[in-house]
Symmetry: C2
DNA sequence: GGGTTACGCTACGGCCCGTAGCGTAAGTCA
DNA sequence: TGACTTACGCTACGGGCCGTAGCGTAACCC
């Protein structure tokens, strides 16, 4: 996943790709069954039919393993073209909420985020394997919206990047907060209302007559 | 904190209020020093000058203790009146980000949320001691904005409640996500842009000509 | 074959959890 | 004052999991 692909083949016995997949599958299963607290590296190893030491040879600890096991989940997100930005956002929001429908998956994700709060290396790992990997959705949506004329073009690249980050934080943050802290479901109605709020607000934000766009 | 206040004085030796405060202070200190993983109930007890058993007599476990230790932090949030909804939102966003400036505080909060994902009792505890206790800020802001004429009045109470929940999720979610997942600071410029996005979007959302407000 | 790396297995020290048991301290009530 | 009730401090314990060390074996390259 985030391991170096041995471009130059090294001598010695190669790592078993089968074991890699077995371990990640076992980790996902363990998460689904017993949540974060229920995941023990010993248990994952046993379930994967692998020695515990093999596990420690590949991942520094529980956080990194679970993160890798979760990262793939988000790769299934797609931005369909419904003809309007709001509809597209609504669709992606529902997809995202669907991925986190399982409470234990939510728990595992949050736990990793929690550890990241005081672990810079883990934070970087998250940034690479989840955030950066999904940010293309935001860029894609913006391009479409600008082509449609729904959103004005940003004055410069820096402003465009700031707005993309903002959109990402607002979407992912709102959905996570609703599911996890408020503990209420993301329904179609909620997604529609949220998409309206976001797209209207975004139009105002990008509008040059909107506010002072003082850079950070 | 969330214990029953002994309205009718019971017989026997009363619980030491001093110990309660000492334990919560010790827990906060432990969080600040070593983050979630570093908090051990044994350690907290020792630091508080209290027997470990005393701790277990009052809190079911680590989650509940840390939650109680964190809940007070949010009570300092205030909604100042700057004359415009956007400015008020901006102010509160900066306050909120300020509370979470300390990475270890963020970690402790996130860890509690993570556990809550698969612990309904803890979820309820969070809902009561944090979410419900701070939601008055949203209601207050809405009332002011409607008095000022910045926002239209909602058609009915249910719609008003839905919007309030939405605002809460968007604000808290976006700030948390930016600080924790994106790992970028909440600057004054970011807060201003976010406040613009939210207030403009909210105006569109509440606008009767906005979209179909199909209830959930 | 020799060299190199990965694997499975076992065993271990260490830390922390959560509880039990006991004697003692601090209150209430008669 | 003395009986009663509840909280406290202390010690001890079984149990679980962590993360590592050591060893023999398996797979791959030259």
């Amino acid at each position: 996943m985030s391991h170096e692909t041995p471009s130059a083949r090294r001598p010695g016995r190669p790592r078993s790709a089968t074991a890699d997949r077995a371990i990640l599958d076992a980790a996902r299963a363990a998460i689904a069954e017993s949540g974060w607290a229920g995941v023990t590296l010993g248990g994952v190893a046993a379930r994967a039919g692998v020695a515990k030491t093999t596990l420690y040879r590949r991942w520094p600890g529980k956080n990194e393993l679970v993160l890798d096991a979760l990262a793939d989940l988000f790769d299934s997100l797609r931005l369909p073209d419904h003809g309007s930005l709001a509809r597209d956002v609504e669709d992606v929001v529902l997809q995202f909420a669907g991925l986190l429908r399982e409470p234990r998956t939510r728990g595992a994700l949050m736990a990793v985020l929690a550890e990241a709060a005081h672990d810079a290396a883990l934070r970087e790992r998250i940034r690479v394997s989840i955030v950066a990997r999904q940010k293309h959705l935001v860029r894609q949506g913006r391009e479409r919206a600008q082509t449609r004329g729904e959103l004005p073009a940003e004055p410069d690249a820096a402003a465009a990047e700031r707005n993309a980050d903002m959109v990402f934080d607002v979407i992912a943050g709102a959905v996570l907060h609703r599911l996890l802290v408020s503990a209420e479901p993301v329904t179609a109605a909620w997604a529609a209302a949220f998409a309206t709020l976001l797209t209207r607000g975004l139009a105002a934000l990008t509008d040059p007559a909107g506010q002072d766009p003082a850079a950070q």
